[in-house]
């Protein structure tokens, strides 16, 4: 006891003595660029460094330190600020953001970590990088920014969503046919502020999707995004479970951080212009061309036919004496705007944010557009370090006008834009119902989305904390469409669709952190997760309202009612998961993460609903080794590797247990029996993705050069595929897991800062590239190959084990027969090479490779042609800042990918029928065969008499398969920050103005208009919605 008192006394004395020499310093810490006060900056002093204070809510601090002692101001994400205290007692410190990838904070498995101790592959994109471009879907701005994230903005439809893939193909399921063949999307999982969101919602049915078709991603205003984090490998995504197999994108919205409430206004005013349209031949020139073509045939019957084809013969009739520019009827330049107000404030104990957004875009195709209204709020309350509450509430409404299209394509427009110029322009009294339908169809399509979440955590003991997160999302989609009588064969039509969807999500976490001597750091956590999802949709479709003014409410008999009712896509799904993770690091030099997750889903059957998903990752920060510790040239460097498995619940209870249907009666007793269309597969497994990843990260010369390199090998097993069964089973089909594929590839990101930190001009250039190859490894029944026949355009898909997964299966076009003598002759019969119906090939016809050497062009002559999936994707970004000016450039590229130019083929096919009133395109720049020009690339398009047999511009040939590589300048932004002193005078904190050009230009060898504006299977269809170019003027004002 005595000793204790003595000790206490000594300590007090020491403290007392030291305190005597200390001085009190006060001051404020601000952000070096935005001038915002920084809250929670730690102030450290002495040697070794000890924390002596922390900044309060207004960035103010006060600390007592020894005079002349070195002071360090440390804040996460910012460079340390070192100062040696002299006489000054009042300090204003401006911290600058560290531009060093290592210090980024990443969130992996709902845990915040510094990048240094992350074993997975993750990339962060700051919200600022994507905020100066007004687009309906923020996803498209990520294009080219992240190595391995392949985004193709393949539709320009307002509010629609392009294609997104992380690390290549994960699915080969194709639905639909022809141009509408739709590759099932494998979007990554989005986690918005800790709440997982299904971004593929409303796209289950490909082009045939009902409803407004607004993706949840289109409802997020870009202005509200703080940062996006893309998790690519299996370790990083391990704890996200079910949808994590396709990668995870974490989206963090803004938080309040200023004690003085900040009001930030962002306004954009932009013009969307339609891309260049195709050249057509109009009026008299069109008629002449057609007549010349018919006279050229030398057939008297055909020439006689002219007199019965009115639009050719009756040139004096005003109805046929026009030169209508049909494309102009549909396409327009539009003026659009967005407004966003973000109010935020608070301190670490309590802060809040409210973001209100409005987005308005009219489509470049008339009668289409997208409006978004959103209010997103969040609030954080943390009265003491132990207890924390975070809530969010987001409400969003998207209003989308699809015209008479389906949201992704506008086939009505395409059809009419392809009409002959000789016909008169659209008017109510002409029979141009297609035009009326495109322009006069009334749409009122809304998506309403409400999402609320609550996240509570409490520290039970030192290091041991308990957390719980609950979220509920409710979405309602409605589509109301009225087609006036004039546009629909004299009967008006009413279509009403509505659906509702909910997701309830809960996660409970228990975690423990321990550190032994600051050397051995342990982190253990366990959580369980529960999802409950439901969806239901219904439709009413009726015809023949009394008139075009009377659009409802309606009541009908069974005759005029075109059906509807509850749609068959009702779904309800429950998921329960348990996960545990263990992390260990030694002095943050050697890091190891192990995680294990069990996922049970209601769609994988209750016999053994849980799939087990382990993951492991290791990292070695070799710059911390003594040998490299002091090296100036190496800022940081590390090697990491990971392995893990993830699942995607696929299939449904019907595929596992079968469906039982009523089938009338037997002996006056009810019959209930199994449905024989699908044999239950009691051993159905979820699709599993296993991934190996090796990564290297290093920064050189004070982070002026940074390198991130990743190599991965991803195996996608148990892909669901429905196969036909032998008829001795009595069933038609079964869904099995027998299809697998692998992806492997390399990703490289280089960041340069060519100018020194002290330079007035700051310039950052970042280049990334990803090479991904996919190989099909297994098919049902152990088949070596499988051909998915698609007779709409005869563009079949070949699945062959050992090759790329999706191969076009086409006729090989090897040129054009210059003369008749070039056509090969069958030595056995003396007959020339001919088609199956006996038409002989002749000069001007395409040379189709006769694969089976039977001198007949038939179905055996198809060959495996190109790969519709890109091999290399990437981008280049540059950011230059000089004083108040900044110039931001974002480009992206896709290399080595085959596109089927169906739009071109279709236009050339119109030339093969001079009697049909279709548009005649300008073929002057097409290198086609004529008797004078025999060495041509393209066959003779005018030989219409043999056209239907030879079909020289058929879709199923390699002639129209082109390289779809492109390099695109996505955006250029020039911004100017008004002088603060000037703006402060008017009570405005800052004003920033910028000019942005989006989708500026695409460089490509592709002959079509836009190599990106094609379907995921690389088919360029004329009904696709063109991607507009937009010019934007915008400003940020901060009060």
């Amino acid at each position: 006891m005595k000793q204790f008192i003595l000790l206490l006394f000594c300590l007090l004395t020491v403290g007392f003595l030291q305190a005597q020499d200390k001085v009190t310093i006060t001051g404020q810490v601000r952000d070096g660029v935005t001038n915002e006060p920084l809250v929670g900056v730690s102030i450290m002093a002495g040697s070794p460094l000890k924390a002596v204070g922390i900044t309060n809510a207004s960035g103010q601090f006060s600390a007592s330190v020894f005079p002349n002692s070195p002071l360090v101001f440390r804040y996460i994400g910012y460079s340390d600020y070192r100062i040696t205290l002299k006489d000054k007692r009042e300090l204003v410190i401006r911290l600058t953001v560290t531009e060093n990838k290592l210090n980024e904070t990443v969130i992996i498995g709902y845990q915040k970590k510094t990048r240094e101790i992350t074993t997975g592959s993750a990339v962060i994109v700051g919200g600022k990088e994507i905020q100066d471009v007004p687009v309906s879907n923020v996803e498209q701005l990520l294009q080219g920014r992240v190595a391995g994230l392949n985004i193709q903005n393949n539709t320009g439809a307002p509010g629609a969503r392009g294609m997104i893939q992380i690390r290549g193909l994960s699915n080969i399921t194709v639905t639909g046919s022809g141009n509408d063949a739709f590759l099932s999307p494998t979007s990554p999982l989005y986690v918005i502020d800790g709440v997982p969101i299904d971004a593929d919602a409303n796209f289950e049915y490909g082009y045939q999707s009902a409803g407004p078709g607004v993706s949840p991603m289109s409802l997020i205003p870009p202005e509200d995004i703080e940062s996006l984090e893309i998790l690519k490998d299996a370790q990083a995504t391990a704890l996200y479970g079910s949808r994590g197999a396709y990668g995870v994108i974490l989206l963090t919205t803004r938080r309040g951080s200023s004690p003085i409430p900040l009001v930030r206004y962002t306004g954009n005013f932009f013009v969307n212009t339609p891309p260049q349209l195709r050249k057509t031949i109009g009026g008299q020139a069109e008629r002449r061309l057609r007549l010349q073509q018919i006279y050229g045939s030398g057939n008297i019957d055909n020439i006689y036919n002219i007199s019965t084809t009115h639009f050719l013969a009756d040139s004096l009739n005003p109805y046929y004496n026009n030169s209508t520019n049909w494309q102009d009827v549909f396409y327009q330049a539009t003026y659009n705007q967005t407004h966003n107000i973000n109010i935020s404030g608070g301190d670490p104990k309590f802060n809040y944010k409210v973001d209100m957004g409005y987005y308005h875009e009219n489509g470049v195709i008339r009668n289409t557009g997208f409006d978004r209204y959103s209010v997103n709020t969040n609030m954080l309350y943390q009265p003491n370090p132990k207890f924390r509450v975070f809530t969010t509430l987001s409400t969003q409404v998207g209003k989308r006008n699809k015209g008479d299209g389906n949201g992704l394509t506008q086939s009505g427009v395409a059809q009419n834009a392809a009409a002959s110029s000789l016909l008169p322009g659209p008017s109510f009294y002409q029979s141009t119902a297609g035009v009326l339908s495109s322009l006069d169809t009334k749409n009122d399509n809304k998506t309403a989305n409400v999402r609320a979440s609550l996240d509570v955590s409490y520290q039970l003991l030192k290091g041991l904390s308990l957390g719980s997160s609950v979220s509920y999302e409710y979405a309602s989609n409605t589509e109301d469409r009225f087609t006036p009588a004039a546009a629909h064969k004299d009967f008006s039509q009413v279509y009403a669709y509505d659906d509702r969807k909910f997701t309830l999500y809960n996660r409970n976490t228990l975690s423990y952190f321990a550190s032994i001597n600051n050397k051995h750091n342990f982190f253990v956590s366990a959580f369980n997760e529960i999802y409950s999802k439901g969806f239901q949709a219904q439709v009413i479709q009726q015809e023949k309202t009394p008139n075009d003014q009377y659009q409802g409410p309606l009541g009908y008999d069974g005759y005029a009612s075109l059906g509807g009712g509850l749609l068959d896509n009702y779904s309800k799904q429950h998921i329960a998961s348990f996960a545990g993770t263990f992390s260990y690091n030694y002095k943050q030099k050697y890091v190891m993460d192990i995680s294990y997750r069990m996922d049970g889903t209601s769609s994988s059957g209750f016999e053994d609903p849980y799939s087990k998903n382990p993951a492991i990752g290791v990292r070695w920060n070799f710059n911390k080794e003594n040998a490299l510790n002091e090296k100036k040239w190496l800022t940081y460097g590390s090697l990491r590797g990971s392995w893990g498995q993830n699942i995607v619940p696929s299939g449904d209870i019907f595929a596992i247990y079968g469906t039982f249907d009523p089938r009338g009666t037997y002996n006056a007793n009810q019959r209930l029996g199994i449905n024989y269309s699908l044999l239950p597969n009691t051993t159905l497994q979820p699709t599993a993705t296993t991934q190996y990843n090796v990564g290297f990260e290093a920064g050189f010369f004070d982070s002026r050069l940074e390198v991130i390199f990743d190599a991965y090998y991803k195996s996608v097993k148990n892909l669901l595929r429905t196969k036909d069964l032998s008829n001795i089973t009595g069933f038609d089909k079964i869904t099995t897991n027998e299809t697998s594929l692998i992806d492997y590839g390399y990703e490289l990101t280089l960041t340069f800062r060519p100018l020194p930190r002290t330079s007035k001009v700051q310039w950052t250039v970042s280049v990334n590239a990803a090479l991904n190859k996919d190989i099909l490894t297994h098919l049902p029944n152990g088949a070596r190959q499988l051909i998915e026949y698609d007779y709409t355009n005869s563009q079949h898909t070949l699945f062959r084990v050992g090759r790329n997964s999706l191969t076009n299966y086409l006729l090989k076009t090897e040129g054009v027969y210059a003369t008749d003598a070039d056509v090969p002759v069958d030595p056995a019969t003396g007959q020339r090479y001919r088609t199956a119906d006996g038409t002989y090939f002749k000069a001007g016809d395409p040379i189709y490779k006769d694969v089976d050497h039977n001198y007949i062009l038939d179905n055996n002559d198809y060959i495996p042609a190109g790969n519709s999936q890109p091999l290399i994707t990437g981008g280049l970004q540059s950011y230059v800042n000089y004083k108040n000016w900044s110039l931001n450039l974002n480009t992206s590229y896709t290399l080595i990918r085959k596109i089927l130019n169906n739009a071109f083929a279709e236009r050339m096919q119109y030339l093969g029928d001079p009697y049909t009133a279709k548009a005649v395109v300008d073929v002057s720049n097409v290198d086609y065969w004529t008797p004078e020009h025999t060495n041509a690339k393209y066959p003779n398009p005018f030989d219409y008499t043999r056209y239907s047999s030879i079909r020289p511009y058929r879709y199923d040939q390699t002639l129209i398969e082109e390289d779809g590589s492109y390099w695109k300048i996505n955006t250029i932004t020039l911004a100017y920050l008004l002088n603060r002193k000037f703006t402060n005078r008017y009570g405005v904190n800052s004003v920033r103005m910028y000019f942005t050009c989006n989708n500026l230009i695409t460089f490509s060898p592709y002959s079509g208009p836009n190599p990106e504006n094609v379907s995921a299977l690389g088919r360029d269809q004329s009904s696709g919605y063109p991607v507009p170019r937009s010019y934007n003027f915008g400003m940020n004002i901060e009060f």
């Binding site: 889903t601 249907d661 037997y666 001795i728």
Partner: protein, 508 residues
């Protein structure tokens, strides 16, 4: 502090327990398998569906009429085609020229309404088999609260019966067939020797037949549901089939048939109804029925087309309406054949009950009245409302007679046959034993079961199909050995089944 940790651990455990229930989601719009087989009524409904599936397949075309009767050749094609449409497929079938029945020749488009191609498609039979296997499997592994163990065994035995019935019908049509008894069978299989298939079925059914009741308390189920009598009747038929093809073991099969027949008769559960009530027999669900396929116009339970009924080819107005285009039958029994079955001067109540004065008219005025219990009084074109009788007591007795004759127990065989002859009010058999007796029994069977879909199959199993006395266009022995008695198998059977082989006879 530890208390808190315990509390957390407990909470975690509680959530674990509720999970299995949480993950069992039942769809609202459709009935998924995991929500089925939950109660006795589910099993009952599913059992009735199996019977219904069997009716669906045998009713999908005139299967019993064409494969069982027409193919024997004793039905002539009537020269008067009163509705003007072409049913000449009966001539093709009689001449064993079956390919045109499967692939309708040009100009014979009217045949398509008969869907005769279904006679080459065994897939619907495998539907019955899968349904039986699934019911057996699911009932066996699930705890169904309101179903006792006895009831479970009974349902499983019923399913076994229906499976064996399907295999028996298939074997008679196509010979060798793929055989399996596992639920949710997916794998392709080669065809199994039909003798083995029948052997397996016999073993299978013998094992469970005691779980079936002799009779039902609800008379509506009599004949409509598998009883022990139905099972015995089917085993007897299968035995007799195998006896014809597995000659080495024929005696065992005959013995088994005779013994089972005895057991059936000892049970006194079934009886031969008086001949003047023969319409009740064919109306169905009678005390003579072993197993029927229920048809009821009242409840809308019919074959898929009304002309798939056995009566279609041999009745006309007033048993078919409207009068205008039903003045003649489409077929007639050849007079020479009928004269052989019913020698002149021998009384037989069946002549009065089943034929009219035009019995020996070799044309469309012929009328066969076995199926005349109900006919529409209005002017609707509806066939008579009989059940399809698959197995009946009289047939079983004749099978027993046949087996006994083969075993050399002539006296008992004659006694059996005379039960039937007595009921038909004809003279009792006085003749010799041996082959004369066998022929007499066969004649009796041909008379008694005429137009019930047994005739051709009886010809096949007894080898009489090569005998022009019994088969109008008889097969040669080599045609018979090469499988000329089978039906062609659809080439669709080759799809996704590398082990499959079709019937070679039809591939020439």
């Amino acid at each position: 502090m530890y208390r808190r940790i315990y509390l957390i651990a407990c909470l975690l455990l509680i959530t674990q327990g509720g999970c299995k229930k949480f993950l069992d989601v039942k769809a609202l719009d459709r009935l998924s398998g995991n929500a089925f087989f939950q109660s006795a009524s589910d099993v009952e409904d599913n059992m009735w569906d199996i019977y219904g599936l069997f009716r669906d397949v045998v009713g999908s075309c005139p299967m019993y009429a064409v494969a069982g009767e027409v193919r024997g050749g004793m039905l002539g094609y009537s020269p008067q085609k009163n509705d003007g449409n072409d049913r000449s497929f009966v001539e093709y079938a009689a001449k064993n020229d079956l390919i045109p029945l499967i692939y309708t020749p040009s100009g014979k488009d009217f045949w398509n309404i008969f869907d005769l191609a279904n006679l080459s498609d065994w897939k619907p039979f495998y539907r019955v088999i899968q349904a039986c296997n699934i019911l057996q499997y699911e009932v066996g592994r699930r705890a169904i609260p309101d179903l006792s163990n006895e009831q479970k065994l009974e349902y499983q035995a019923e399913a076994t019966f229906m499976r064996c019935l399907a295999y028996w019908t298939m074997v008679r049509l196509w010979g060798d067939v793929a055989y399996y008894t596992d639920a949710y069978h997916e794998a392709p299989l080669p065809r199994e020797k039909m003798v083995t298939v029948m052997k397996n079925c016999i073993e299978d059914l013998k094992g469970v037949m005691d779980n079936l009741p002799w009779t039902f308390t609800d008379p509506a189920n009599r004949g409509a549901r598998a009883s022990k009598g139905a099972a015995i009747g089917l085993i007897m038929e299968m035995n007799m089939w195998n006896a014809g093809f597995d000659k080495g073991n024929a005696q065992q099969y005959y013995r088994s048939t005779a013994d089972l027949g005895n057991e059936l008769m000892q049970s006194n559960a079934y009886e031969l109804l008086p001949i003047d009530q023969s319409f009740t027999i064919f109306k169905g669900r009678s005390k003579e029925s072993l197993f029927d396929i229920v048809i009821s116009s009242n409840y809308g339970e019919t074959l898929s087309e009304k002309w798939n009924d056995l009566s279609e080819l041999v009745v006309h107005y007033p048993y078919k309406r409207p009068a205008a285009n039903h003045q003649y039958s489409f077929c007639y029994f050849r007079a020479e054949y009928l004269r052989r079955l019913y020698p002149t001067g021998v009384p037989d109540a069946r002549i009065e009950m089943w034929f009219d004065s035009q019995m020996f008219a070799n044309d469309g005025t012929f009328l066969f009245l076995k199926y005349n219990s109900v006919f529409e009084q209005g002017n609707d074109d509806v066939n008579v409302d009989n059940n399809l009788i698959v197995l009946r007591y009289a047939g079983a007795i004749l099978l027993r007679a046949e087996a006994l004759a083969e075993l050399g127990e002539d006296a008992e065989a004659i006694r059996m046959m005379n039960l039937i002859r007595d009921r038909a009010k004809t003279t009792l058999y006085q003749g010799a034993g041996g082959s004369a007796l066998k022929d007499a029994i066969f004649t009796e069977r041909a008379k008694e079961l005429m137009m019930e879909g047994h005739y051709y199959f009886d010809l096949v199993r007894t080898g009489r199909v090569t005998n022009t006395n019994w088969c109008y266009y008889a097969l040669t022995p080599s045609q018979f050995d090469n499988g000329g008695w089978t039906w062609p198998i659809s080439t669709a059977s080759l799809d996704n089944n590398p082990y499959m082989q079709l019937n070679n006879y039809w591939l020439r």
